[in-house]
């Protein structure tokens, strides 16, 4: 990493010889602004040795002119007045570099997007403004310093947080490409929500049947290390080398010894509701959440285990031939260093309000869609035979209520959860297949069947199964005290009438909300969050899995609600993003970094408070406390420079002096560089 030469006094030793190049950009600029006038005005500014107007500065001819000026006229500062730097800065940097000048001695002035194109009706004033802008550029160019971009090495290992379908896919892809991958999952088994689902829309293939092979595959991959029943407790560092702390929760079962025979569970006397089955079925105190669990290692839940409660029992110990049970097991902290991180922390299903209109907590026969998934799942507590909670009888008249916890501004859930329409349609299909005499109604606002094969399924359930679609948001649910049937009152908006219909069971199509588990991770990495509460990508269209934190990628429902195909696709994208970094092994960082002038620093620590990336620390240097910037952490926002009362921190390419010089020049004071040193 190269330090910039003398950042503090920004005037570099040799006398500056400035070259100004005003681009016509065909008629884009020239058609409004008189480029000749601008060039002429520029030539009068002290220090300007070359001032030309060019038809197309970015063309080879134009670039040649610039190189010539550098080689022949000894120009050592280049001001290109053309289009937006966001477009051609790179081009011209390369150009001057080609002529042997440090690329950071080139400054661009934006005459097209921010002058000629927006003042087409006022050519004179536009020209006047252009002259001002060029002057600003010239004054700034005096204070430019030679810099060189920074390079960091990228550790060839990745951390994937979250063992749902997205995490599994990402880990698989990275592992396949031969990089060490740590897949961290807080539950005893990987699989996530997809493992709970019955069938998948629109094709109707069984979720676990397609998921289980992947789970096995990822377990078998030599490069992937699954850390189940574990949580990430701390992340420090930056792209290329993140220092990660992971807490392995005690299973009280030695993983290497347990073969998953399950004898312990058979003998275990404690029965508790199985949260994997949404509390419908039961499991033992020593358990695997579901038969296909990966890793197939049993876990004792301390809360319910008799031994932990009473100190007696130990039946599991007696029956376990491999002596895998170890009540003394303690949690352990594992330290890792990884080059890249993929966050795939998924979602939580929305939990209906306690005193809500839909009476989820008051009426037994009002259930959520996730609960339904378990109730119709062949591997579920009822063996796939749908019964209603109140009396275990098979419901014949079933209503789905859409958009529960989605598209609701009152609940701050403005967004559409993107899966509810289809899973309700899919579930109604499954129910109809099981009991053709069932009557199903779906209360919806809009049906969003946008994906491949979705509309076809929507059409099929209407045509083949006669599922009724009622457009209207139910206003009131009432329960018959005897039968516990639910009556829904709603305006059927297409009918224009208020109807009351009785159903045996009501299913709330609950939306997807950001997972509780995402919060801590988001804070550790200080990832930006979009206003729906999900993690925010760098660019909604062009950088969909990257984040503002370099080296950190997101995928699956952690980024926004989405279905399985989308999650998988995104996981693959994130994986390729991560591997690209690791294959290169090196990562280039623009030199925007903040630099401290120790002589001026008082060690007040204001900068450390404002820095969003914890990049500044206060260190003792021979008895005095001074702020020190960790270059690799610094993203170059410059907030610290703005906060520093001493102006002791300078942000490369945006020093106080450089900005001050622009200010004065903008307001028609050519001597900006001289009088405003120190930036006010």
């Amino acid at each position: 990493m190269t330090q910039p030469e003398n950042t503090t006094d920004s005037k570099s030793s040799e006398k500056e010889a400035i070259g100004v190049f005003v681009c016509h950009c065909g008629t884009n600029i020239g058609g409004v602004v008189s480029c000749e006038k601008v060039a002429e005005a520029a030539s009068k500014i002290p220090g300007v040795v070359v001032s030309k107007d060019l038809k197309y500065a970015c063309s080879d001819l134009g670039q040649e002119e610039i190189r010539k000026a550098i080689k022949e006229k000894g120009v050592n500062r280049v001001v290109v007045a053309s289009c937006s730097p966001r477009l051609h800065e790179f081009t011209f940097k390369k150009c001057v570099e080609g002529a042997g000048l440090n690329p950071y001695f080139m400054h661009m002035v934006n005459l097209r997007e921010q002058c000629s194109w927006v003042h087409m009706k006022q050519p004179e004033m536009a020209t006047a403004k252009a002259i001002d802008l060029v002057r600003m550029g010239v004054e700034r160019s005096r204070l430019l310093t030679p810099l060189s971009p920074r390079e960091v090495t990228v550790e060839k290992s990745a951390l994937v947080i979250g063992g749902g379908i997205a995490g599994i896919q990402a880990a698989l892809d990275i592992g396949e490409k031969g990089f060490k991958t740590y897949l961290v999952e807080k539950e005893p088994s990987i699989g996530g929500h997809m493992a709970q689902l019955d069938k998948t829309f629109p094709t109707g293939d069984c979720a676990i049947c397609i998921l289980a092979p992947k789970m096995v595959e990822v377990a078998r991959n030599p490069n992937v290390e699954i850390m189940s029943y574990s949580e990430v407790v701390d992340i420090e560092g930056y792209v290329g080398s993140f220092k990660v702390k992971i807490r392995k929760k005690p299973r009280y079962v030695v993983e290497d010894k347990c073969v998953g025979c399950g004898v312990c569970a058979e003998k275990c006397p404690v029965k508790v509701p199985n949260d994997f089955d949404c509390g419908f079925g039961t499991r033992r105190a020593i358990y695997v959440p579901f038969p296909q669990a990966v890793p197939l290692k049993y876990t004792i839940d301390k809360e319910n285990c008799l031994y932990f409660k009473t100190g007696k029992c130990q039946l599991c110990v007696k029956v376990c031939v491999n002596e895998a049970i170890d009540f003394k097991q303690e949690e352990q902290i594992v330290d890792l260093t990884v080059g890249t991180i993929i966050v795939a922390t998924g979602f939580d299903a929305y939990v209906p309000l306690r005193r809500g209109v839909y009476k989820y907590w008051e009426y037994k026969n009002v259930i959520t869609a996730l609960e339904l998934e378990r109730l119709i799942n062949a591997a579920g507590p009822t063996g796939g035979h749908l019964v209603r909670p109140s009396d275990g009888v098979e419901p014949k008249r079933i209503a789905f209520i859409q958009c529960v916890g989605s598209r609701n501004i009152k609940l701050q859930h403005k967004y559409c959860s993107r899966v509810c329409c289809m899973y309700s349609i899919k579930n109604s299909q499954i129910i109809m297949e099981h009991s053709p005499d069932a009557e199903i109604a779906i209360y919806y606002n809009d049906i969003r069947a946008f994906g491949k094969g979705f509309e076809e399924l929507y059409h099929r359930v209407r045509e083949d199964y006669g599922v009724e679609f009622i457009r209207g948001r139910p206003a009131k649910l009432t329960k018959d005290p005897l039968t516990e049937n639910i009556t829904i009152r709603a305006e059927e908006t297409l009918l224009g009438k208020i109807t009351e219909r009785e159903y045996d069971m009501v299913v709330l199509a609950v939306g997807l909300t950001p997972a509780a588990g995402t919060g801590p991770i988001q804070k550790m990495l200080s990832l930006p969050v979009s206003d729906d509460g999900f993690l925010q990508e760098s660019h909604p269209k062009l950088r969909p899995v990257e984040t503002a934190i370099e080296g950190v990628f997101i995928c699956g429902c952690a980024q926004s609600p989405k279905d399985i195909p989308d999650s998988v696709a995104q996981a693959k994208a994130a994986a390729s993003g991560a591997t690209t970094l690791m294959i290169k092994g090196k990562h280039i960082v623009e030199p925007l970094c903040a630099t401290v002038t120790p002589e001026l620093c008082l060690g007040c620590g204001l900068c450390t408070d404002v820095c969003p990336y914890k990049a500044i620390d206060l260190l003792d240097k021979d008895g005095q406390t001074k702020a020190v910037v960790t270059e690799a952490l610094c993203h170059g926002c410059g907030t610290c420079a703005a906060a520093c009362p001493q102006h002791a921190i300078a942000q490369l390419q945006f020093t106080d002096q450089q900005i001050a010089s622009e200010i004065s020049a903008a307001l028609g004071m050519n001597n900006g560089a001289k009088d405003s040193a120190g930036g006010a």
């Binding site: 921010q114 927006v118 009706k121 536009a126």
Partner: protein, 145 residues
């Protein structure tokens, strides 16, 4: 600059963050949204970079209005730089009032990269307001620091 007879043309300095507002200004250009040429844009990486002293400096040097423009809250490329800009703006507003500069002369705006029209209209609005307010008068009494 408001010589007798000719209409007063206010000078506005706009600090635009590289990721949202500067891009917004560019978009205004690309979509040819016209606005008065009274504004001079200074590019910074983040609205959080804008030191209060820059704004004061601008007024000292004769700006009639100053705009600080950044990404919308939660959209900041640097997580929360714009929040800091907001905090500084609060203080700045009161300070400017204390030293006798109408707070209308200073604006903090959230302009996304997709909001070209908003950038244009912001400049339009401010230019009109400033024309009404007139030039920032008097020898700067606060400059003795």
């Amino acid at each position: 600059m408001s010589a007798a007879g000719m209409e007063f043309e206010p000078k506005i300095v706009a600090f635009c963050c590289n990721w949202c507002s500067y891009a917004g200004a560019d978009l205004a250009g690309v979509s040819r949204f016209q606005y008065p040429p009274n504004v001079r844009i200074i590019r910074v990486m983040c609205s959080g970079r804008v030191d209060s002293s820059f704004v004061i400096e601008a007024f000292k040097k004769g700006a009639d209005g100053v705009i600080v423009a950044g990404c919308h809250i939660n959209d900041c490329h640097y997580i929360n730089g714009n929040m800091k800009a907001a905090t500084r703006a609060e203080f700045l507003k009161t300070f400017l009032e204390e030293i006798g500069i109408e707070p209308e002369r200073f604006r903090l705006e959230w302009i996304a990269g997709s909001e070209g029209e908003k950038f244009a209209s912001t400049v339009r609005k401010m230019t009109e307001e400033l024309k009404v307010l007139g030039p920032l008068g008097g020898e700067e009494p606060w400059s003795t620091r």
